[in-house]
């Protein structure tokens, strides 16, 4: 039996148990999908209190509408779709700009870090430190991307989802997902390079 099939069987069992009244099975569903929901919510929403409310809303909605799940996709994908829609709704309601910007203070902090890390004579310890700093700089640069871009990047590179699965979560055609991802990666690479060049001058 293929992995996908096994996954569906397990999804079906869990859904049937929940619909049969076993609410504890829903806890298992939550544990299985919480990581994906966290990635989406953290990438799209900045405010911690709102994240907490949204995450709860996502699962309450999933619970209420579980009988509508038709097993056409993985359960995690369906819940991811609810999370993505909830976050989009939140951004629209709050009239938040889709492209977040970092403050000057954040920018200065990043540049200070770069001052420290760009050194041609790095020892091993320093090199390890450099990697850690690079990781922090990258985190800042990812955060600067628009919520949709950073979510796509995370779903593809961190969650290792396929273009099809990302398309199902975001309800975007696969071609659009590919195109957005390509632009997001280029933007991220260019922004990182610009920072290094700026620093080198």
């Amino acid at each position: 039996m293929s992995i996908i099939r096994e996954h569906n069987v397990s999804d079906r069992t869990l859904v049937d148990r929940v619909l049969g009244g076993d609410t504890n099975a829903f806890r298992i569903i939550m544990k299985n999908t919480e990581g994906l929901v966290a990635q989406i919510v953290y990438k799209m929403v900045r405010n911690p209190a709102d994240r907490k409310d949204l995450a709860q809303d996502v699962y309450l909605k999933a619970f209420q509408h579980l009988s509508r799940f038709q097993f056409q996709a993985k359960l995690s994908t369906w819940i991811g779709q609810i999370a993505y829609n909830a976050c989009l709704g939140y951004l629209e309601k709050k009239k938040l700009v889709l492209i977040d910007s970092v403050t000057d203070e954040d920018e200065n902090q990043v540049l200070d870090k770069l001052n420290n890390v760009i050194d041609p004579f790095l020892s091993e310890t320093e090199s390890s430190f450099f990697k850690q700093e690079l990781s922090e700089i990258l985190k800042t640069e990812i955060d600067k991307l628009s919520p949709v871009y950073k979510t796509l990047i995370t779903l593809y590179h961190t969650e290792e989802l396929s273009y099809t699965e990302i398309g199902e979560i975001t309800q975007l055609p696969e071609g659009t997902v590919k195109s957005y991802l390509s632009r997001a990666r280029k933007l991220l690479k260019d922004n990182l390079l610009r920072r290094y060049k700026k620093e080198a001058l």
């Binding site: 966290a38 309450l60 619970f63 829609n85 990047i153 990666r185």
Partner: protein
């Protein structure tokens, strides 16, 4: 071999899944330092993204949700009812066709083609209107549920 440098999309494709790249692209990148450098930058970027710490909730989400979950109302399995209704409709159509099949055929034989056309257009128009109305209601409900 390609004379121009590869696009970002092509370089990303090369880094992520070089097996799907065409020979021309592979031949270019094997001899072009500029494109190799671009590929190396993307490679470093992707590796760094993958190493990024995964976001996790700093609260017990499951406990919070389970507190609010009440026993779901049993979902009536209405599939049996739907199938029964479909069977009844099919049976009725069958009986009607058996009893009045010949009469219906002769009725259409005597009708003017213009009238038949008018009936077909009206029927399609009605179905289209009802379908559109149903779709709009569906969209409104989905939006209210925040599913769209």
């Amino acid at each position: 071999m390609k004379n121009r440098h590869l696009t970002d999309e092509e370089i990303q494709q090369y880094v992520l899944d070089w097996g799907t790249c065409n020979k021309e692209l592979l031949a270019h990148i094997s001899q072009c330092e500029h494109c190799q450098q671009q590929a190396a930058q993307y490679q470093l970027l992707f590796a760094s993204i993958e190493k990024q710490e995964k976001a996790t909730f700093d609260f017990e989400l499951a406990d919070l949700v389970m507190e609010q979950i009440t026993q779901p109302a049993p979902v009536p399995d209405n599939r049996a009812v739907v199938y029964a209704m479909l069977a009844i409709v099919a049976a009725m159509v069958g009986v009607m066709a058996y009893l009045f099949g010949n009469s219906t055929a002769s009725l259409f034989a005597f009708m003017q083609p213009l009238l038949i056309g008018l009936l077909i257009v009206t029927a399609f128009g009605l179905v289209g209107f009802l379908g559109l109305d149903m779709y709009q209601k569906y969209k409104t409900q989905m939006k209210a549920l925040n599913f769209s």
